[in-house]
Amino acid sequence: MKNKAITIRNLDFSYPGSPFRLTVPELDIEAGEKVALTGASGCGKTTLAHLVAGILEPASGRLTVAGTVVSELGDRARRAFRSSKIGFVFQEFELLEYLPARDNLLLPYTVNRALKLDSAARDRAAAIAGSVGLADKLDRHPSRLSGGERQRLAIARALVTAPEIVVADEPTGNLDPDTARGVVGELLARSAGATVLAITHDHSLLPQFDRSLDISRYSTQPSPADRKPSPES
């Protein structure tokens, strides 16, 4: 029997003052599984991903991610959990233009005291940069990288802390179909050992995943998080 990367039991969540409600009675995702989260806009895809990542706190229920019962953690512990266990890939990559590629790659270490930027971390960063073909471009700023290189840098940043879960929030949202397939292929290939939750509206990409989950069945109203590209929690 494979290990469970994500286990959800009787999870209930709602935004204050909003009729939206996400209720997940039972959901298991196995370690290393590549899962596409689908569903109509506002159905709760991003909300579920943020719950898994410890950004949002459920009202009730039990949520276990990478062996940690996230639903029982306080704010600080959830942030530490997120730093060490979760890697994020964003729709528009969200690279910091004023930092060179190297600093973008090491950003999780720079902004988070829970992560230690030691020689092992640097070696790992160098190895990842090499594996995505950016080893000789780490001194360049993102504006001097091609679209593909930016995309690979964003994926490398998500993987640099060796996360057990990779959350990709519509990483292909603005891309043409061929490029979108390439990005998903790249993401899945680079995050080989990690569990991937990728939010997507593009059904043509679903064959690349192990399975897809339609989140619409868990929610009752459109989620404010799914209507906003960058929800503040």
């Binding site: 990542a53 950004i55 942030r79 997120r82 730093s83 994020f88 528009e92 999780p108 988070n112 960058s230």
Partner: protein
Amino acid sequence: MKSLLLLLALALTAFLPVAAATLVHHFDDELSRRASATPLVAGGKGDRFDLVLKSLYFTGGAPEPITMADFDELADTGRALAIPLHLEFSAGGAPLVATTPDYYRFRKLEPARGTLPLLAGDVALGGSAARRLGLGVGDTLPSDQVNLYDLSATYPLRMRVVGVLAEAGTPDDEAAFASLETAWVIAGFGHGHDKLGADSPAADVLGRGDGRVTASAALEQFIEITAENIGDFHFHGDRAALPVNALIAVPNSPKDRTLLKGRYSTAPDLQMLVPGEVVGELLGIVFKIKRLFDATFGLVALAAALFLALVVLLSLRLRKRERETLFLIGCSRGTVAWMQVAEILILAAGALLVAAAATSVLLWQAPNFTRSLLR
């Protein structure tokens, strides 16, 4: 680049009021010190600011001329030491102050090198002027041509630099000093040439008669007063009619000061001024303008603060996704906020550093700058 522009704009906003205050302070100090050190100034009737500024600070040009008869009259009262000033000319761009040795004693000017200019044709340079001109004792300095296109004008006089005065931190440092006779020679009231006699070339003689020989314009005049030709220099006309531009009066007592002021208050062609009062009046105007500037700077600072707030707000909006990214990858919201506050603080600190550096340069150069304003 954007941050640099913002930093410079902030630095300028902080620097301008400081610069204005510093310059006004130095201007006040520079003017007041000299004015309070000069008890009375007499000169031709006219603009009192003009007379005081030109005779105390050598601000360019000369006050309306009076005559040596006026000097004699003041000296003859016995109520004050009278010091004449002739200010018509310049040499090497420095105002040529022609005066008597009393001036040096009164202003406590001592030669750092060489001697004071005691003979016609001698010149002593203020310390700054000597440095600027690169001249020292033994060099020569021609007086500046007054009117390049006036063919009948006298030639510049080549003067010997006999001394360099110790710097006093006053307008005297920027000036060149000579005797009254030197100035009158430059003005054409005196000149030197070979003696005319029976054996003089006919071209040099305009006419002869009554035992007098009248020289023609062809007679070559000396352009330098030397030990050899100083005896051939002479003045035509009455000494009492020779011009000066101002008189410094150093009264013997407060009573003499009051009496002199009273005496000259009714003089038809002369005025006797207390420089401290005139400068005080001038500074009153300057301070009124400064208050206007202060109010303007206040508004500019307010506008700059509002612009900064706008820039910060726009920046916060533009960088909302960046903050969200930092939060999602593990940075606490407090740390994200602190990072942005730190950016603003670094910007403000950088601006203050630049403003402080500019102020240091200004403080260093302020005396020179205020003096240059007075020239």
